[in-house]
Symmetry: D3
Subunit: 248 residues, 6 copies
């Protein structure tokens, strides 16, 4: 169930014994010649919905803008500074915690978010750990990457091997093609060279990866592959979320 499509009375009823929530988090950033800006948000959103069907849990609103400073040399990319994204995560968690949510499972679609969201969790805990008093909810946050479950990695490897790349991957574009088949982009592009060297800021990135891809033959994406990946990742989420909820 998407929180956005529920009423507060439904949420209140659900909270009896269900203290968890899944929050998809992504980014709005270029994904090469045939990848959508919303790729990193669409993937965890679709997978969270699928997992929630099995879990019967609530899926919060997708945080669709993330920490994407390195993509800012491509028009259309949007980045929150880490300090801004941390405030968003903090306020969202504390808002829900105020009324009884206790375990927050962030399903992430963007590697660039990992450090910042983890730091945001620590900022939340630090507020509690520095204070001695009562009155603070006991919050637990977990970040999982939809693309990192073993079964997902296996499919990516089976289908694309090294040609999957590390940004604008054939895998993630496949998921968006499955989710939005009417928005499959037909674009000519050459095979991507392997990732040549590290980058740091936005100008670095565009200089090194002029069409936006990092070592990815994004044109190999298919909606069929997307369907398999969604299924595999959702299964991973189901198991991982249950284990998170079962923690003592």
């Amino acid at each position: 169930m998407r929180l956005q499509l529920m009423t507060w009375m439904e949420v209140e009823a659900h909270l009896n014994g269900n203290r968890g929530i899944i929050i998809p988090i992504g980014s709005t950033e270029q994904h090469g010649p045939n990848g959508l800006f919303g790729t990193d948000a669409i993937c965890p959103e679709v997978i969270a919905d699928r997992a929630a069907e099995t879990l019967g849990c609530i899926v919060g609103p997708t945080i669709s803008i993330g920490m994407a400073q390195h993509h800012l040399a491509f028009p259309g990319s949007i980045a929150l500074r880490p300090s801004t994204l941390m405030a968003v995560v903090r306020d969202s968690v504390l808002s829900l915690a105020r009324n009884g949510f206790e375990r927050f499972y962030f399903l992430n679609g963007h590697g660039g978010n990992i450090a910042t969201v983890s730091a945001a969790f620590s900022e939340i805990y630090a507020e509690k750990s520095l204070a001695v008093g009562p009155n603070q909810p006991h919050v637990r946050c977990k970040l999982a990457n939809w693309f990192a479950f073993p079964a997902v990695k296996e499919i990516s490897k089976e289908l694309y091997g090294d040609r999957d790349g590390s940004h604008a991957t054939a895998s993630e574009i496949s998921v968006t093609q499955y989710a939005y088949p009417e928005h499959i982009k037909k674009v000519d592009m050459d095979p991507a060279p392997p990732r040549p060297r590290p980058f740091y800021d936005a100008e670095d990135y565009r200089l090194i990866h002029p069409d936006g891809r990092i070592g990815a033959d994004s044109f190999l994406a298919t909606p069929e592959a997307g369907a398999r990946l969604v299924e595999a990742s959702a299964a991973g989420v189901v198991e991982d979320y249950r284990s998170f909820m079962a923690e003592a």
Copy 2:
């Protein structure tokens, strides 16, 4: 066109001569017994999409969490502090401005956002006005409320009169019923009393408005009314956006 469903090359091409973007902004907050949490985000999103069909312009990712502190006593509500929301607006605008976007039309669905988003615009301008140097993009931001166009107000008045209320209005719930017909909630409720007295924080609000509505007979909502409202508001956006783009 939703930015989320475009590629960066499409955006780059579009930017030739088109420096504007519509950004829907809403909230995730209780909307009474039959209103969806996502109401304030869904309405401007649907209307922006409709307007963009006519305008041929880009619609950015919806900012779906807003300044909703007064709803926090209802489980499921999420609020960003004003300072957090201001940082989100600032980073989003400056990200897009970096590559050539110049005019930002925020289509808003939540009265509680108005002051904060306006303050965010001033924060952006103040950074520029306090500095003397060059290098700062010339950014213009505008906030419009989907429910405030005269033609929209007329329909609301015609259909509901005083019974539309001021939160969880029959009008806004109608729009969500039109957008998500499979999520129309059938809930019994009494006619809402008129807004009795001012509220300030979340505990105030729930005490005064125990089921979340403010003076709204939300059960009068229909998807048909929603269709009319979307059409009227989108027409208002088209005209207003064009006038914003035409400013010298």
Copy 3:
């Protein structure tokens, strides 16, 4: 009674049963060829003093610098960024609330402050609404504009009609001439053109409104008009403040 001219023992005595305070808030910004920088602070200060004579209430120290980024291209103008002004309002309110003040009536003289001060109120409430614990004072804040009471608008309209304008208005300059008759400035100026188009940052503003006025024939100001306006606005404050104090 101005707080600045009281002792703490007088305040302590006053607090028995009187939990309210009026805080004038203005700006230090250019007001055209014959308007004073302090106009927006002087007006609410004078009117608050007059109203307090009737109300017997306390008037806090005037916040004389506001959110005036758009005036920064005129030398002498001072602006607090919205985030700074929000911190000032927050600390001031919480300082007074700590010892028993509960209702804060901000009498405002500057349109540019409205969004930011409203956002500041939300920031204060949000701190409380996000926390669940006790220990937080129950604070209520209200913003009223001295120039917006119906009786004030009527006088402005009667005296100046459309020639009152929207910045450096004949009305506000009249109030300062009444308050500081020895500082009436005699300056030649032409009738102001009506407000031609929207402005955003400081450079915009000065380009469009080169002498600082917006559609205002400021030379029409007289101290006699000022006296009438002060009287009318103070009467509006008295009624509005009493109603604020009487809220359940």
Copy 4:
């Protein structure tokens, strides 16, 4: 000339060759049984006005709320956190610097402000020192305490000796009695014990100094003493300001 009572054209004319400004800064805090809340703001304001008559310079709006956390256990006291006051000083200085002011002479009336205002100056310089680029105005800030000029200290010593104390001093109350003779408070009080031991936060302070004075026989204040002190301090400001302006 008070900036508040000038027009922007007068300021623009004055700026030719005069790049300095005096900014009075004080506090709104208890000053014992017969001292005014505004004491620390009134003193530097009155003295700045007097000095400006001789200097022909501009006096900016008084910053009347300061860093007074230790007085917060007395009702009516208001404190800005150091971080808030630093933002106020920074924005005020940069606003004026944008249009040509270069030297900022803060005339201070409150010992509790000294560290914070000095830190604010460093924050301003640090922004510039950390950046390498051009475009930053060359700003110089100086803090002077009205009560610390040798001639002032001599008068205080001559009139009151050790009985002047260190808070709610007979000297500062004398200045306010000179400035506001109609607000001289007649209150019985015993001689104050000498300052017994250090204090840290607000509860400390009130416990140790239950009527708010620190070692001060405030009842010795007279308007005549105030007149002498104002004259002496203004002379100190004149000399010190001239020397500040004359720096290479």
Copy 5:
């Protein structure tokens, strides 16, 4: 060479052609019954010194307090909130970058710092990526963990296998025993149970790991093991740093 023991003229001379610096970063947190609070700072400091002998490079001052919120239930532990640590990293990097340092190699001793320091790097890059202008130094930051070089892991495994644990490891305590042989603590303790379950905030941690260790038989530490680990890790740093400096 430790920066702390150099003069500015030596640094200026060194900067010709050497744009890199190693900055050790650790934490001040409990390390179980026989581990030192400074463990996480001492290890990278000692190893950086050793590597710098070979590299001939500069070692900056150790950042000895880190993000250790989860250790705060043990007296003596100190934590910076992530937002604070990010500001420290940012100001340090920009200070050095202002005069020509370009590549910053942070040698880290504390797993809890990784996310926050990575987010700090992104905050630095984001400031540059969001701006379009020139004048920003081209900074590259890299984080390396002293304990993660393959040769180090091999020694830990060879010596301790699974008994090394994940906090207060025999390996890290060995390094401190090598560095400070006069501070080897003789304390009785049982073998540590394996890490039983996840922890989040400080109270969690102490409840689950009452003596502070996580699965570590810290009593196995020896200074001889420390000597080997320092040697191996320093060799890893030498190679990794050279490769970082050699990046195009």
Copy 6:
């Protein structure tokens, strides 16, 4: 005892009846042709260690980077903005206070830190003074400068008179020569001119003081003088710390 070299069980035992801690705080900044970057951190660290031998108290980790914006034109200098340093002090104090430390004695080696660290203390107290609730530890912070004890000043005067100067003083360089005899720098330099005029930001400073010294004949430093100064300052700390601990 240095906290860095203790275990948490030792700290816990020590806390019974000993609620104080000494925290050395310095800077990493140029100190002229023969002075070390670490001078301001090394001095209080060495002196705190010596004093702690007598006092039997704990010495926390040295804060080795301070507020040194004015030195940033010399390569190798590092500065925290005042706001950053304030956050570091605040988090450090609250971390230790959480588990029972109550009195924090900062032994300072850098004049440029005084205002900022004092403001940091006020920020800590203000958080408590603004809140009314319980749960806040009763913290007392004190800043002492190692070079300001009368016995220290006498030695400096006896040895160097006016030639000690005010930055890169012969005295402070003597202390570092005593602490690090293997790092005594032999550099030719002329006698320093007396401090010619005030400076504000980094460019000012380097222009006025091109080799970094302010009126100091730093070449007069000797390790023997350092030994005397350390002894005298440590004795001052012992007495001052005891008096701080003895406060009611």
